[in-house]
């Protein structure tokens, strides 16, 4: 089977992003960029399906500026067979991303689309569900385990109350949660090999998709600051402060 893995270029998860002082957006000058951690888990899962003989081909796809090639090369180094970049300077919202991915899926006819449950920049948690909806595919969101068997996929999902398992007809969309796997690191020889793997580029116009945004960001401001706290010397002092100063316990 064929697996499509959409990935997103985001600010590295270790970076504490701040709002610009003029509140026009997040300050992203000179910050380290990386593949979104949940997308990395998606790439890993697809590669494991290939290693297990379940998948024949893994295609990584990303949407964004030319710089996204870097993250696509990372996916290729990890084991994806080829890559597709939908190149645009637009800030594409999840709905636009989903429409572009639908168009790519219609060309490629994957049996499975695996992607991260959420990007750690806009924290939207929408794209997988939207692609599934547009394609009329079933979805297994927040997956911690998947099993493929005879035209179906069983997905164990991390839900608020615990775990839920659903069975989906293929083709299907799976979005990854943290416990699905632990992604590997790319080896140096594989990084070299990845440079020769095919990477095709399309524009949204070529795919016939209008990906213009529907939402305007009026401003981006810092969250309310917390007042500085105190260090207490003992458990006694802590209990006293909680009872008599903060008055949160009785």
């Amino acid at each position: 089977m064929k697996v499509l893995v959409p990935i997103k270029r985001v600010v590295d998860y270790n970076v504490k992003v701040r709002a610009k002082s003029d509140e026009t957006g997040p300050d992203l000058a000179n910050v380290k960029m990386a593949i979104n951690p949940f997308c990395e888990i998606a790439v890993e899962e697809a590669i494991r399906l290939k290693e297990a003989g379940t998948a024949e081909e893994v295609i990584a796809v990303s949407i964004g500026t030319n710089a996204c090639q870097e993250q696509l090369r990372t996916a290729l180094a990890l084991g994806a067979d080829r890559a597709i970049l939908v190149e645009t300077e637009l800030e594409v919202e999840p709905l636009g991303v989903a429409k572009l991915l639908k168009s790519v899926a219609e060309k490629e006819q994957p049996d499975l689309i695996i992607l991260g449950k959420q990007a750690i920049d806009d924290d939207s948690n929408q794209t997988g569900q939207m692609v599934a909806s547009l394609l009329s595919y079933p979805q297994g969101t927040f997956a911690s385990e998947i099993k493929i068997d005879e035209g179906k996929i069983s997905v164990t999902r991390e839900v608020d109350g615990g775990l839920q398992t659903v069975s989906l007809n293929l083709p299907a969309v799976v979005t990854t949660d943290l416990r699905l796997n632990e992604p590997r690191y790319a080896s140096l020889p594989n990084i070299m090999k990845a440079k020769k793997k095919p990477l095709d580029t399309f524009t949204p116009e070529e795919l016939g998709v209008d990906a213009s945004p529907r939402t305007e960001i009026l401003k981006v401001s810092p969250p309310p600051e917390r007042a500085a706290g105190v260090i207490v010397e003992s458990v006694d002092e802590l209990v006293d402060k909680l009872k008599n100063e903060a008055k949160v316990i009785s």
Binding site: R18, S124, G128, T141, Q164, T215
Partner: protein, 309 residues
């Protein structure tokens, strides 16, 4: 302007997250309908009718909605919701699952996890793990919005008398089915609605040591949470995770034990009213957000704390 709120429930009882979502709806407008989609969920519908300020409760009762499969609920909500100006649901794992499907079917963007309503089309929502707050304005005809429950108080749930309308509708895409679930059973309050939360991190060293938190939780009537590190290490199950991609909590008191305070954890708890950190590493970032910090070995501090409460 009319607002459709999708109720969160388990076919037996209306969940508290619904009440926070209705509060958000009331800040947008006054014509609010509540949709109960489920199976044999009559008692939920009756509870819903007593919420003040609801125009009508729409009940869609079918086996297709029993397990809240996103494929079926999403289709149903898109059919009913197309006549409204706003569709709201709580940003629970259930709301996050089906709402983007609704938005895509209606060809509109979704505004995820709002924490405040500025006007009928403008909302605030956290981005970058809560390190920035974005003010966003939607130009879509129908606003599909999920609500972060910690951003809104719960509304009254008694005294209303909404009318009830049974909807004869069965949306089933027949492409997915429910297999099983393993839900955590606990006599403690729910993590997302508890007044007090005590959470353990990697410093707890193993799952057995979480017992040290249980005694304190029992005395305080607290819920127990965990950091991602503790869940990834297998100390405790995933439903206890507090953080950017786990549960968002904002109790009156949050006690972080053996948690270093990664950005991703802070994103899930830094709106708590009072934060206590107990950690033996005095440089741990958790102390930067704590109102009260205790630099101590948790294995000594926890038994002492339990004894003194």
């Amino acid at each position: 302007m009319s607002i459709l709120v999708i109720a969160e429930h388990d076919n037996e009882e209306l969940k508290g997250a619904t009440l926070n979502t209705i509060t958000a709806a009331k800040e947008i407008g006054t014509e609010i309908d509540l949709l109960i989609a489920g199976f044999s969920c009559e008692t939920v519908a009756d509870q819903a009718c007593s919420i003040p300020g609801i125009r009508k409760v729409i009940v869609s009762d079918s086996e297709s909605y029993k397990n809240f499969l996103a494929e079926n609920i999403g289709l149903l909500v898109s059919k009913i919701g197309k006549d409204y100006s706003h569709i709201l649901a709580a940003a629970t794992s259930n709301g996050k699952n089906f709402m983007p499907r609704v938005a895509a079917l209606l060809d509109v963007s979704q505004i995820s996890e709002i924490i405040s309503v500025l006007s009928e089309d403008t909302f605030e929502r956290p981005i970058y793990a809560g390190n920035c707050i974005a003010t966003v304005k939607s130009s879509d005809a129908i606003k599909v919005v999920t609500v972060r429950t910690t951003g809104f108080d719960d509304c009254e749930d008694q005294g209303g008398s909404a009318s009830k309308e049974n909807l004869d509708e069965d949306s089933n895409l027949e492409i997915s089915s429910f297999v099983s679930e393993e839900l955590a059973k606990s006599d403690r309050p729910e993590l997302t609605s508890a007044d007090i939360v005590i959470s353990g991190g990697r410093g707890m060293q193993n799952g057995e040591n979480f017992k040290l938190l249980e005694g304190i939780a029992d005395k305080l009537g607290a819920a127990i949470g965990a950091s991602r590190a503790a869940v990834d290490s297998g100390f405790v199950p995933n439903d206890m995770q507090v953080g950017q991609t786990g549960k968002i909590v904002a109790p009156n008191l949050y006690i972080a034990v053996g948690i270093s305070g990664a950005i991703q954890h802070l994103a899930g708890m830094k709106d708590s009213k009072v934060i206590v950190a107990i950690n033996k590493d005095e440089d741990a970032p958790i102390f930067q957000v704590a109102d009260y910090g205790l630099v101590a070995d948790l294995f000594e501090a926890l038994p002492e704390l339990e004894a003194k409460l």
